[in-house]
Amino acid sequence: MTGQTPWQTVGPYFHYALPWKGGADLVEGRGDAGARMDLVPDGHYTLNPNDHPRGVAKGQIVTITGTVFDGDGTPIPDSFVELWQANAAGRYDSPDDDRAELALDPDFIGFGRASTDADGVFIIRTVKPGRVPGPGNSLQAPHIAISVMARGVIKRMVSRIYFADEASNTEDPILDLVPPARRATLLAVPVGEGQYRFDIRLQGEGETVFFDV
């Protein structure tokens, strides 16, 4: 056994290295979504040039908008949210999901990064994930696994985005482990057709539930 390499913060200057253009649009990788081109000088952007055609992922398209707040309730402009989710059929695009009976979507990978802007706001465009198995015979409710990273966040903070209008939340084995009074911090709230709101509070009043995985 060798010891794990320790975590360190991403610091404030990750924008020209991690969040690629279109990385927060898991549906079709459009535009600058997820990147902060305002922080990278012209000619110094080495991430995905995003100039190749892409199809549109299958499923119900949803947009999730939120703000990342610190313990004073101040928005955090130097953070990003990393995403991992199943496709609309509930299949992960991963060699470790071998359930061939569920179709992969050639236009959907399910991995993304969404930087917060100068006002601490991130916007994610994706398809609502299908349900995937949980422990025992359970089925999990649709969810997106997230890692929050920022200057001042010395190791990632792991959480999940669930959908508040999803009936299967009541049978979700992971939500069931969360004290009822804190579950709402994991629910994206519908604010319009296909539009959801999901704020992340790193500390204090209404602190988002973070997981030890």
């Binding site: 060798t2 320790p6 975590w7 990750f14 990385g23 966040v153 792991v158 973070f210 995985v213």
Partner: protein, 234 residues
Amino acid sequence: MSLILPYNREEEGAHPPFLSPDYKATIKRSPQQPLIRIPQTLTEVTGPAGRWDRLMGPAIADLTKIGTGEAIGQRIVVSGRVLDEDGRPVPNTIVEVWQANAAGRYIHKKDQWNAPLDPNFTGSGRIITDDQGRYRFYTISPGAYPWGNHYNAWRPAHIHFSLLGPAFATRLVTQMYFPGDPLIPLDPIANAVPAHALGRMISRFDIETTQEAFALSYIFDIVLRGRDATPMED
């Protein structure tokens, strides 16, 4: 129904606590509630693989030749292996790196301290490990930089590393330091890590792989979480 082979948890005492008050920015950005421990499900034991071109873009393994001319500074080659805790290689995984230039300045627009930018150096790249978990890239030796955390606070020279590994559970972001740097013992970010594990982030100079009349070599092996021995039914 398939069997879930969970990964080990975060190694006790090897990682920094969220609240590491000497690194002041953690004071308002660390959770106060305890983490809720959840079992690893299919969500946590899967991860993207082999689609890097469609995500971050093609590999960049020579950071010294991104501009029209060569980057200024001491040319170095950084290499190593990505392994799990049982010493098994982690193949075909993406290693993303970013760093300051030789003067200690980041190309990032928020970095405004008085040190020169190098038009021929961006300081970011990414490499995919081979089937033995090996990676290698060329860059220039990064400079130290002041960061205002406290009086005369200087970050030791470092390169940021971001790794996905095979699964959501194996995610790692770390910083690689250089041997013998006198700033390391003074640095609140490095020393947020328990003392016995700090050395795991310090690369070693290697004359064997140093390239004659070309580049000094530093070796940095990275260890991600391994598999737990006990399978769980999903």
